[in-house]
Symmetry: C2
Subunit: 339 residues, 2 copies
């Protein structure tokens, strides 16, 4: 691998000159030397060692983002918004998938610190796990103490800037849509209960139930993995427990799609037999049959705002921004059949 010194030797100049030319420093260099150096760079196919540069330079230009899984559309959207701002600001972003494993999340914070990132953005849901939250906080505090910037998406009980998706509000809106149509037997297909996203959305649902003089008994809430197969399994369990269900609220679109699949397998049609609603408005929501009624969160914007907060100068007190939720009405929700 050719080094700066090799180039300098070949061009017959000092390392300083090569560095200045390669990096386009404002210092004036004669055209002749520039020419020679550039030729040497070409001939040797020289590429600067990024690690040496990072070590020698003082300022950082990389930010890290920890998500559950970028291939999940929810995080893909957030990441897209984030990347856009990052590019605009000349920052590189390192993406880390925690796959919802708290330990891995901890490791990644360490890794990003090791890589000297300028900011860490935590985009995954928070966990109801005091021990974990405490150690995560400790790690982040150590990072922030040395000038690192942190921002989070969602509820984390972390001292840092945050963008809050309106999960509770979204739950309330979609719940109201369902209850106001007259549904009385409503099942909820929920994600693991240790995720704050789950409890927040559920809380909104409960508030909507109360407002409509309905209740959401525990037996009508099935917890499962936060994906299509989890949704399918939870729906099956709900249906077995109460065949009279007229509506199913899934806590995200993937689970709603799983619900659709189970319903189809059982010969129940949507929405005439059972209504189904989702959450997140993933792109695929408009392409399933029936098209999914769901809650839209401005995910791209959430990502963009999270990184913007992280890149701006820190304030005295942590800033918290809300991102509004909105119900997208499609075909999968209808009034229950008259009994």
């Amino acid at each position: 691998m050719a080094t700066l010194a090799d180039v300098a030797r070949r061009a017959g100049v000092s390392a300083a000159t090569v560095s200045r030319i390669v990096n386009g420093s404002p210092k004036i260099v004669s055209d002749e030397l520039r020419e020679r150096v550039l030729r040497a760079v070409q001939e040797l196919q020289y590429v600067p060692n990024a690690h040496a540069q990072l070590l020698a330079r003082s300022h950082r230009t990389t930010v890290g983002v920890i998500v559950h899984d970028v291939s999940d559309p929810y995080f893909a959207e957030i990441t897209r918004g984030l990347q856009r701002v990052a590019s605009e600001q000349g920052r590189l972003v390192i993406i880390c998938n925690s796959y919802r494993d708290p330990d891995r999340e901890l490791e990644y914070v360490e890794l990003l610190r090791a890589h000297q990132v300028e900011a860490i953005i935590l985009a995954g849901s928070g966990y109801h796990d005091p021990a974990f939250t405490k150690s995560l906080n400790a790690k982040l505090a150590a990072y922030m103490a040395t000038g690192g910037r942190v921002s989070v998406v969602g509820r984390h009980k972390l001292a840092g800037d945050a963008v809050m998706p309106a999960n509770e509000e979204g739950g309330y809106l979609i719940g109201s849509a369902v209850f106001s149509l007259g549904h009385r037997h409503v099942g909820v297909v929920a994600a693991p209960r240790q995720l704050t996203t789950t409890t927040d959305r559920l809380a909104g649902l409960r508030r909507a139930a109360r407002d409509h003089r309905r209740s959401l008994p525990a037996r009508r809430i099935a917890y499962a993995e936060f994906d299509r197969d989890g949704g399918a399994a939870a729906t099956a369990a709900l249906l077995d427990a109460d065949p009279k269900l007229t509506a199913i609220v899934a806590l995200n679109d993937s689970m709603a799609i799983g619900a659709l699949s189970t319903l189809r397998d059982r010969g129940l049609s949507v929405p005439s037999d059972v209504s189904v609603v989702g959450f997140d408005d993933m792109p695929i929501a408009r392409d399933v049959t029936p098209r999914l009624t769901t809650v839209r969160l401005p995910l791209v914007e959430i990502g963009a705002r999270a990184i913007t907060l992280a890149l701006e100068a820190p304030q005295h007190s942590p800033r918290v921004e809300e991102a509004a939720a909105e119900v997208i009405h499609r075909e999968s929700l209808a009034a229950p059949r008259a009994e």
Copy 2:
């Protein structure tokens, strides 16, 4: 930010000792010193600077992968297989999204080289673009000349190990399935023609047509972006040009879903009016209505094999491995209605 030297000072030992303990070197260190050092590490929240480590160490442990877009399920699957092997082998992987921009692809090769990666895996489709291929080859050659390893997924005319998805074969299989049912008016929803993936799949389709004494005239092939909306637009164009179409072959599942959407908008039902088939067997293929008949490629395995090739010692001549395609029969393909 605490450094190794800070830890050494605090523990009252040399930097060498700290390094040995932190990295678990085989050299024996007394329990007492180990104890003191570990305590200092804790107290200072020390995390080694990854760049300094990479600079000081000789061996590389990171690999880079360039894909079109990880949030595309096709690449998400490949990446998953790749990540699995990487973790098993103790390697970190850097993911780069080229968004199908050749220039960005070039830049990323440079960036990965700068980051001293051990191997580069090119997972995107090749391009029919001699100028680009040439400069990419030059960059990769320079990288390989200094000990870098390269492997590619798909056809790239690159001197390196390769895993070849059976695109031609897959095209042939799905084409045969369509033609053997008696379809005579078959439209193709194709991706941009400069992608080798497109031409390979098309070639298979043409071979199937010949075998069944049919043809695939140019007017029945519509090229568009390789995504859902591209598929929807191309389908509309095809239908406008020839309303008698009885089958549509989309070159990937996203485009097939777009086709389904256009068909639905026009009140045509699938498969009774028009059959639709896709390619890639993305997870969502079984969840749309009707369930999509498509071609499965062992994507996770392709990713795993690509990185395995890259990590193994290079052979004299580049190795090329084939990955078989298989038709997955679901509901979106049926015989054409008798006229």
